[in-house]
């Protein structure tokens, strides 16, 4: 695979995730959180808060961000960066909703 072409993996249907919600994709001992916002945009982040590895998939989704369930850091879904006064960032992955299916970049699994 060269840098240009992305291999996509079908991980399920868009409708499997509730609007303003998240579901997890597991691979070995890693977890990737796939978010769906209320406008049906999708995002994929490593399921670890930069603060203290809280599971971001369990947070409340709002304004393109998720609020971590453990200590309320606010993490941008698009960039993975902590917002406001906090700093740190979480790895993001490419994910797309196409014809109702969710496609995650295969690189996420390597």
């Amino acid at each position: 695979m060269n840098g240009e072409s992305i291999v996509w993996i079908d991980i399920g249907a868009l409708s499997d995730i509730p609007p303003s919600g998240a579901r997890c994709v597991e691979i070995d001992d890693r977890t990737i959180a796939v978010f769906r916002d209320r406008d049906d945009r999708v995002y994929a982040l490593e399921d670890k808060c930069p603060h203290s590895q809280g599971p971001l998939s369990q947070g409340i989704v709002h304004d393109g961000c998720v609020t971590c369930p453990l200590h309320n850091w606010v993490i941008s879904l698009a960039s993975g960066k902590a917002q406001g006064a906090d700093s740190g960032s979480t790895q993001t992955f490419r994910v797309e909703a196409k014809d109702g299916r969710l496609l995650l970049e295969a690189g996420a699994f390597s």
Partner: protein, 818 residues
């Protein structure tokens, strides 16, 4: 016809070629001999206006754009009702259904698009229509004459226009929409919600997330629509408005390149340089268009190129307007949330206005307007041109009228109001009365103005205006009120919001946000859980809980731990347990490898470190032993601690254990502003620590002493005494009444002791102890709310509710590369 005249043949007589010919004749009236073939048996009409014809507001004659005289005057030959069946590129001719063969020098394919029909059983029945042309409208109008019910499948632009039209004709109308919100491609959820209510107000029933499984029929005639969830909606007519597909068959058949539509380049020719394609049948740079504005641009480009110029079409952004009388809606661009985007939201609840601009790098990229769409074209123009709006940001949302000389000040809108403009609608107070009193009496705060003029004293929605008037009148000496708003999405305090939810009968989060003029389109992690609670508390039988507005513990019905696992605490009524219960816990701990079991400070057992996926199975096992959720995670009733009382204790005066169990069984499941803990002690030695609880009972010989407003967490505070009652029944009624009063008045996350201190302990005694009628009313409202709240959330989930919450979306070994 001169010999030099070349033959121009047009297939399809829709809106796009109509415009193209006008543009062509304006430039060079005599350059071509024009022949049009049209499948429809009529002249050209304004397709956009079909909805007013359907509703009866207009007639066919009103919407004709090019009548027979126009064709005659311009020397155009129109073959009505004669479709082209084939294009023969070798012979450069077209062949019509009636057998006409005609040569062309230039050919324009403008076949438009056809409605998509979803292939479910029953689509062939009589009474199933699409919505595209005048014949469709005529068929629908015929059915309407007989009255009855119609189902419209599709809650997009066309479906909603059809629904409104059918409703105008007196039909009972239901719209079925697959997605969670209407017109999801054009509207954000906030505007979609206002739209939904506007339709419901005119009597159109709207069901979202409705997946149609089958159209049922009898004797070849439509009888109803059956949904996936088993609901059946009876009807005489079904209108399918789920989308359109470019009509490209002629192009496919003759070997012209097509994808979704007929592929054209920027000069609008197809892969054959003598054949243009125009209108909805076109695919240009990967995009197909379904609105006329870009089609008119294409029309102009073709007209120019036909006269030898070399114009190009480079694509277009669309703006949408819904044409239903009385509903003003405008949307354009991209309005999804995003951290790189900012939004400006203006809500004017009285006028029913919602406006939202989405801005990225100082440029408008999305516009949604509801109620007042006058500035739509102006915003759209800024969007298309990519104008930097940073200079006019403060006043941008107010529209074009507020831009330019000297007006770039948000206060100017208020300053510009005439003296007799009404500021407070509830109390009929005008601007000059308020400014007059401010100067006359030297008022300096909103509270002062309220006290002296009554302005903003009722529903409070004009508070912002009153503040602006203070700022205008007092200049720099005005200090805005120190009110602490709920969060940065609103300037209202919790109390205002609670009052207004009741006063204005607001029954959903989007409704609250609209009516109370939220500054964001969808709220934040602070206000959403609070609003969700207020709505549950105020409308227990009507409000649908919004789980995405709850913290994870309440969504998963377990407590999240620092490593992402969960802990669960089943109820042990009044702290009592049994061998059977203990055995079930022991079995579950072994079976699911639960690492820690601990006795809590609340007289029950906590199992910690459970994997989220295992929760439903653990609950299923515990449920068999009779356990229900202990709500150790909830802003709701937690524990009722008891001591052993008269059952065993040599000092016991009453059955404290029994009363505790009764209270817990009566009150569990209820949601409250913050957690509620109680205790019942059998005598004043107080082994159950009742005097530091939210509500406590000390049993004495003469009855039950009821306590409230204690604290032993972040703060330590002994309880206040409410009073002494004689019987268990009275004790329960008083306890329930206090809790219900708190449920109705407390601010989200405010414990009982803080709420009671805020409103005054005597006020609680007055309403709960001394006013029997009030007490009974509180009690009754609590009982009503319990009908909906007292459902074991664990067993609900064992039965499959919110299944997605507990299972991963995928595990890698199950996925397939595509």
């Amino acid at each position: 016809m001169s010999d030099q005249q070349k033959q121009l043949v047009v297939i399809g007589n829709g809106m796009a070629p109509g415009r193209m010919l006008e543009e062509l004749f304006e430039r060079e009236p005599a350059s071509y001999s024009v022949t049009i073939f049209n499948a429809e048996p009529r002249v050209n009409y304004n397709r956009l206006m079909l909805s007013p014809v359907l509703s009866g507001e207009k007639t066919y004659a009103d919407i004709i754009t090019h009548d027979d005289d126009w064709y005659a005057a311009n020397g155009v030959t129109l073959h009505k009702g004669d479709a082209i069946e084939a294009i023969d590129r070798d012979r450069r001719c077209v062949v019509s259904r009636s057998g006409i063969e005609l040569n062309y020098d230039k050919l324009v394919v403008a076949t438009g698009s056809s409605p998509i029909v979803i292939p479910i059983p029953g689509v062939d029945l009589n009474g199933v229509y699409t919505y595209r042309d005048l014949d469709d409208v005529q068929r629908m109008v015929d059915v309407c004459a007989g009255g009855g019910s119609a189902v419209v499948i599709g809650g997009g632009l066309l479906g909603l226009e059809a629904a409104a039209g059918l409703r105008e004709r007196g039909m009972t109308v239901t719209v079925l929409h697959l997605m969670p919100t209407l017109m999801e491609r054009q509207l954000d959820p906030a505007a979609a919600d206002i739209l939904k209510r506007a339709f419901e107000d005119r009597g159109v029933n709207i069901i979202t997330e409705a997946n149609s499984r089958e159209i049922t029929g009898s004797q070849g005639q439509v009888a109803g629509v059956l949904l996936d969830n088993g609901t059946e909606i009876p009807c005489e007519m079904v209108v399918m408005a789920v989308g359109i597909r470019p009509s490209k068959r002629l192009a496919d058949d003759c070997g012209i390149a097509t994808e979704r539509g007929i592929v054209v380049g920027d000069n609008m020719t197809t892969s054959d340089p003598d054949i243009y394609a125009l209108g909805e049948c076109v695919e240009h740079r990967g995009a197909c268009y379904g609105l006329v504005a870009p089609l008119y641009e294409m029309a102009k480009v073709i007209a120019e190129n036909l006269t030898g110029a070399c114009a190009s079409f480079t694509g277009a952004v669309n703006a949408t307007k819904l044409k239903v009388t009385g509903i003003d809606l405008y949307s354009a661009g991209d309005f999804a949330d995003g951290e790189d985007r900012e939004e400006i939201v203006l809500r004017d609840a009285t006028a029913g206005v919602y406006k939202r601009l989405v801005i990225k790098n100082d440029v408008i990229i999305g516009v949604v307007l509801y109620g007042d769409t006058t500035d739509g074209p102006w915003f759209f123009d800024l969007l298309k041109k990519g104008t930097d709006v940073s200079e006019m940001r403060e006043t941008l949302i107010f529209g074009q009228a507020y831009q330019g000389d000297g007006a770039a000040d948000p206060l100017s809108a208020v300053a510009a109001l005439p003296d007799d403009a009404e500021i407070c609608g509830c109390n009929g107070i005008c601007k000059s009365k308020i400014t007059g009193k401010i100067t006359e009496l030297g008022l300096s705060s909103v509270d002062d103005v309220r006290a002296h003029t009554k302005a903003s004293a009722s529903c409070g929605t004009c508070t912002g205006l009153v503040e602006q008037l203070l700022a205008l009148t007092l200049g720099d000496s005005f200090e805005p009120s120190a009110a602490t708003p709920m969060c940065s999405c609103t300037s209202l305090e919790h109390g205002d919001v609670r009052r207004l939810i009741k006063a204005k009968e607001l029954k959903s989060i989007p409704e609250v946000m609209q009516a109370l003029e939220w500054k964001t389109s969808a709220g934040c992690a602070k206000c959403r859980p609070a609003l969700n609670y207020y709505l549950i508390a105020d409308w227990p039988d009507e409000y649908a809980d919004d789980y995405q507005s709850r913290f994870i513990n309440e969504r998963a019905h377990a407590n999240i731990q620092k490593d992402g696992t969960y802990s669960i605490v089943p109820r042990m009524w009044g702290g009592q347990t049994s061998a059977k219960e203990l055995r079930a816990i022991a079995d579950a701990v072994e079976k699911y490898d639960i690492p820690t079991v601990k006795v809590t400070g609340g007289q029950r057992i906590d199992m910690l470190g459970i994997k989220k996926e295992d929760l439903p199975s653990v609950w299923a096992d515990l449920g068999e032993a009779g356990f229900v959720s202990g709500h150790a995670y909830a802003k709701g009733l937690r524990t009722v601690k008891t001591c052993v009382g008269t059952d065993w204790c040599r000092f016991g005066t009453q059955d404290s254990t029994g009363l505790g169990v009764r209270i817990e069984k009566f009150m569990w499941g209820s949601w409250t502003p913050a957690k509620v803990k109680m205790a019942v002690s059998g005598c004043p030695r107080n082994c159950a620590e009742a005097t530091c609880k939210d509500v406590g009972v000390i049993c004495v010989d003469s009855g039950f002493e009821i306590h409230f407003a204690g604290a032993a967490g972040l703060d330590i505070k002994g309880t206040e005494v409410l009073g002494l009652v004689e019987t268990e029944e009275q004790a329960i009624e008083h306890i329930v009444a206090i809790v219900q009063m708190y449920r109705e008045q407390g601010y989200y996350l405010e414990r009982i002791y803080k709420w009671a201190r805020r409103i005054g302990y005597d006020e609680v005694r007055q309403q709960v102890l001394h006013d029997a009628e009030k007490r009974k009313a509180y009690y009754d409202r609590f009982v009503l709310s319990q009908r909906y709240a007292q459902v074991d959330p664990w067993q609900e989930r064992v039965r499959g509710k919110h299944e997605y919450e507990f299972a991963p979306l995928a595990k890698l070994d199950q996925v397939v590369a595509i």
